[in-house]
């Protein structure tokens, strides 16, 4: 039932697949980026390592692929909390190699998570920091990944009156609406795991072009749960439903939310919590939706991979669990 695709080297701590599942980028504790490619696009077998480069001294904790409209590139978050962008290019007479395009250094806070989204024809990068700040960077030049501009900086709060200078955040999770793109503004959902309750709950952020700023249009937490630390969030692809589906994981379990599509007079979107799934013991590390947005795969510190689906009556249930064995 399970097939082994790739064997990883010692010290590998993270991995990420590109948009079509043909390339795997892995980062290790000694700062090495290794990329594996499939030799035959027709079948997903025979992956071989095509490059291995020691990027820097600092270990890599997370690798994120840049949307392929902008090239074959990855962003690496390292243990010290900086982000660097590397692109695989072939320049003139030189061989194909990974080159550093941009380094986002921050002095005080560490980057906890970054995600890329395409909004109105430009590439945006959202970065969540350990001091509770959120920065949105915009790529200025569509052919080069060198020039970025800080478009906005804000905190994950509904009322912008509140600002927290001494927030201590352990982790953050960002998920863009997979739908976004050329003709419309894209939105993303963001949650924190921090010591400041107001920062924690997952909020959906949308860009307001009239005022040139990002506004929170929904909060995915029930009144009693707003201070709960959020481990991870995931926005499901919408293939034609009249509502968006977003999963939010906290220590209470995984909540499935329905987000309305039409804003009310205040510009807010309606939200409804439709399920609470609580089979995972311990922290939920990652949640991924399949291509139709109907099945959710989750994994956590209990080491089990679980699959969830909704039935006709709208009840979400665990359909299968995969327990690793040696």
């Amino acid at each position: 039932m399970a097939k082994s695709l790739v064997t990883l080297e010692k010290g590998t701590v993270c991995s990420a697949w590109n948009y079509c599942g043909q390339r795997l980028a892995t980062g290790s504790g000694d700062g090495t980026l290794a990329v594996f490619d499939s030799q035959d696009p027709a079948s997903s077998s025979s992956f071989t390592r095509t490059s291995k480069s020691r990027l820097h001294e600092d270990g890599i904790v997370k690798v994120v692929w840049v949307p392929s409209e902008y090239g074959d590139a990855v962003a690496c978050i390292c243990t010290e909390g900086n982000v660097s962008l590397w692109e695989e290019v072939k320049e003139d007479a030189q061989p194909l190699q990974w080159k550093l395009c941009k380094s986002f250094k921050s002095n005080s806070a560490k980057v906890l998570d970054i995600q890329f989204g395409i909004s109105l024809r430009s590439l945006k990068m959202v970065a969540a920091y350990s001091d509770g700040h959120v920065k949105v960077y915009e790529l200025l030049d569509c052919l080069e990944l060198k020039n970025w501009q800080l478009q906005a900086e804000f905190q994950n709060v509904i009322e912008s009156v509140f600002t927290f200078s001494k927030a201590l955040c352990l982790s953050a999770s960002i998920s863009w609406n997979p739908q976004g793109g050329e003709s419309q503004e894209s939105s993303f959902v963001l949650g924190f795991n921090s010591d400041t309750p107001l920062l924690n709950s997952s909020k959906v952020w949308e860009f307001d072009p009239a005022h040139q700023r990002w506004l929170p249009v929904a909060e995915l937490a029930l009144p009693g749960d707003k201070g709960d630390q959020v481990y991870t969030v995931a926005w499901a692809p919408n293939i034609g439903r009249p509502y968006e589906v977003i999963a939010v994981a906290t220590h209470k379990g995984i909540s499935i939310w329905h987000l309305g599509l039409d804003p009310d007079l205040d510009g807010r979107l309606s939200v409804e919590k439709v399920a609470l799934l609580s089979s995972h013991k311990g922290e939920v590390w990652q949640m991924e939706w399949d291509m139709s947005g109907m099945t959710l795969a989750t994994t956590g510190s209990d080491g089990v991979v679980r699959l969830w689906q909704s039935n006709l009556n709208g009840a979400w249930m665990e359909k299968a669990a995969f327990e690793p064995t040696s």
Binding site: V13, K90, G181, S279, W285, M291, T298, V305, L312, K319
Partner: protein, 693 residues
């Protein structure tokens, strides 16, 4: 959405099925994932690949010392989450998948044209049933195809048997659904159809037990040989003429004849099968009563006493009892409830019609003769007889997989109005789609999981009116476009279904990929196909960097090639026009430098003037261009520029000097005496030109 197979779950606690209707909570299926790494595993990471494939990365925590030895640091596994037909080989599945595309597509197009003609949502007329029957027959023949049945490579004999069973099982399931739902013409002799069905697939239903059917077959064979022998001895044969000496044989014959004359309510029988067919009920009833009378007569006859052989007598009398419809005898003789059920139709109540009575009869038979392990075909049949569409769908899904459900829904929907409503009703909880659409989406996702079958998914997706296109767009966007074949295929599909934005995006990705990998020509080509003005503009801007610089011949060629490509179609109008002119100018300059004829010089001058006159020439390039043409301007033999031309250039220089005073002036990267040299050359030229004139 997925359907799971429980077959591969070793020691799973219970069956893991996707039952989209059930409101009962079912225990989760647990599957092991063998990664083969030495513990401890510090982290897991998951990612969906095409369709229903899930990739799980395992990371080992490296121990500080070298105790790991050759252990890997981690592993990535791919899990394929497929349907209930886990026992079918990939090749068989692909064959069936590919073969069912045309019948499906044909039926959909017929429905579409019927709907547009009659303007009602459910075209419920005779013709429609014929179409459904044709569809059913097409799929049936696909499943009967010997190529579908056998697996090409025979490695393990047991595996072959198992793999051969799967498509036969599918065919059995399809047959029974065709009988009940699609075959409207044979509704009147439905019980007989069931008899045939059981005859064909009895081997599947009870593989270990001996069945009455197999016994019957062997007995029938025996009878036939016996009959032949007897006929030879006796010549013509009449029921009433049984001789004393051979009572036993006579009795056997008599029973044999009775069996062979058994009336059956059906249009025709297969060759070699015993019985007499009657199409119409009145004929049948008459024959039936006559036949029963004969049996009773034989049963009451005195010859039994004279029969010496005990076993024969008992056996024959038992047979007569069966034919008379004695429930006890039937019960004892049959091996499982299905056989008893069929026996009821044959011997007790041949006129049974209506699902309700059939169902209650089935329940009665099940009580009398329960089966220990229930085959999935039996479950399916019960669902069908029970007239419960949801149960039928659930059984199909659980036992036969997404292919079966997606294709059998057409049969189910034509079965009854209620079934159709149930299947086509829209559900808010599914995001507004019907059960029919849901299962097509599920099946399409299964097809998307394999590189060899994803291309047929669009046909199913485009028949889903609500969410099909959305899923199709996602499917296409996730194809690897670095491979030209796949790229062209995706573009073709986009064109077929008018998915322009997906197409343009895919071409954009291909364009950027080629551009960044040193294949600039291909890059520009695909970006032009994608009509990506933003990136093309950006590339054009990059080309400007070459102006005023001395570049190698090879670079010039590449630069020239790119301008050609960008040339005619790109809307980065003004700028590119300049580049074209500049290119011509550079080329002619080169010819001059190569020492060709004075014609070249004249041409060069013309290009130069045209360039300098052109309003689209950016001011920042005036001086570089003039500096480039110093050789032309200071031509020894005679002045190449006339008075007006020289004046034009001098004026431009003047303009340039004025422009220098402005703050936003971009200083060209030229040696400091450039301006001076150009001015001097022009002045000299002017002087000589005036003299000439």
């Amino acid at each position: 959405m997925l359907a799971f197979s429980s077959a591969s779950a070793d020691g799973a606690s219970s069956t893991g099925e996707l039952v989209p209707f059930s409101s009962e909570a079912r225990a989760t299926a647990v599957f092991p994932l063998h990664h083969g790494l030495k513990p401890p595993i510090s982290r897991l990471s998951i990612s969906w690949a095409r369709g229903n494939s899930l990739r799980v990365s395992f990371f080992r925590k490296p121990s500080g010392d070298d105790s790991d030895g050759d252990e890997f640091g981690g592993k990535v596994l791919e899990v394929r989450l497929s349907g209930g037909d886990g026992d079918m080989s990939d090749a068989q599945f692909r064959r069936i998948a590919y073969g069912s595309v045309s019948p499906f597509a044909l039926l959909q197009s017929r429905r579409n044209s019927a709907v547009s003609l009659s303007k009602i949502s459910s075209p419920y007329h005779v013709e429609w049933w014929e179409y459904v029957m044709e569809y059913s027959k097409d799929i049936n023949s696909l499943l009967s195809d010997p190529k579908s049945l056998t697996s090409p490579a025979i490695e393990d004999p047991k595996a072959v048997l198992q793999k051969a069973e799967e498509p036969i099982c599918l065919k059995a399931a399809w047959d029974v659904m065709e009988i009940f739902y699609a075959d409207k013409q044979s509704q009147s002799w439905l019980p007989e159809r069931l008899v045939d069905w059981l005859a064909a697939y009895n081997g599947l239903l009870s593989s270990t037990q001996a069945t009455i059917h197999s016994q019957l077959i062997s007995f029938q064979k025996e009878l036939v040989t016996l009959q032949v022998k007897m006929l030879r001895l006796h010549g013509s044969y009449q029921l009433d003429q049984i001789g004393n000496r051979e009572t036993e044989n006579g009795l056997v014959e008599a029973v044999a004849v009775l069996i062979s004359k058994m009336p059956r309510l059906r249009p025709e029988l297969q060759a070699g099968t015993l019985g007499e067919c009657h199409r119409a009920k009145p004929d049948f009833i008459k024959a039936w009563e006559k036949w029963r009378a004969h049996i009773t007569k034989l049963d009451c006859s005195a010859y039994w006493v004279r029969c010496d052989h005990d076993q024969t007598r008992k056996g024959l009398r038992n047979m007569l009892q069966i034919m008379l419809g004695n429930t006890n005898s039937l019960c004892t003789a049959t091996c499982h409830w299905m056989e008893l059920y069929i026996a009821h139709f044959l011997y007790i109540r041949p006129f049974t019609v209506g699902l309700e009575s059939m169902y209650s009869l089935a329940r009665k038979c099940m009580q009398l003769k329960p089966m220990t392990i229930s085959h999935r075909l039996i479950q399916l049949l019960l669902g069908i007889i029970g007239d419960n569409t949801e149960v039928v769908l659930a059984e199909c899904s659980r036992a036969f997989g997404p292919w079966m459900v997606a294709h059998a829904i057409e049969l189910l929907a034509s079965g009854s109005d209620q079934a159709e409503t149930l299947l086509r009703e829209e559900h808010y909880n599914l995001g507004g789609i019907s059960i029919e659409e849901l299962h097509r989406l599920v099946y399409a996702q299964v097809l998307s999981s394999d590189a060899l079958t994803w291309q047929i998914a669009p046909i199913y997706l485009t028949s889903c009116i609500k969410q099909g296109m959305g899923l199709l767009e996602i499917l296409l966007s996730k194809q690897p476009v670095q491979d030209v074949q796949i790229l062209l295929k995706v573009i073709e599909i986009c064109r077929l279904y008018e998915l322009d934005s997906v197409s343009s995006n895919i071409m954009k990705i291909a364009g950027v990929y080629h551009w960044k990998h040193g294949r600039k020509g291909s890059g520009v080509f695909w970006l032009q196909q994608a009509r990506d003005e933003v990136r093309l503009n950006r590339i054009a801007q990059q080309l400007f960097d070459f102006v005023g610089q001395s570049i190698s011949d090879e670079s010039f060629k590449q630069w020239e090639g790119l301008i050609e490509l960008l040339g005619s179609e790109s809307k980065t109008a003004g700028g590119l026009e300049f580049l074209h002119k500049y290119r011509d100018f550079k080329k002619s300059l080169k010819q001059v430098n190569d020492g060709k004829t004075t014609d070249a010089a004249q041409q060069a001058v013309e290009s130069l003037i045209s360039l300098m006159k052109n309003p689209s020439t950016p001011q920042q390039f005036w001086l570089p261009i003039l500096y480039d043409s110093l050789k032309l301007l200071s031509c020894q033999e005679r002045p190449l520029l006339n008075v007006s031309e020289t004046n034009l250039l001098l004026n431009k220089l003047q303009e340039l000097s004025m422009a220098k005073l402005r703050p936003d002036f971009i200083e060209a990267d030229l040696p400091p005496q450039a301006l001076g040299s150009v001015r001097l050359a022009l002045a000299t030229n002017l002087g000589r030109a005036i003299v000439e004139e």
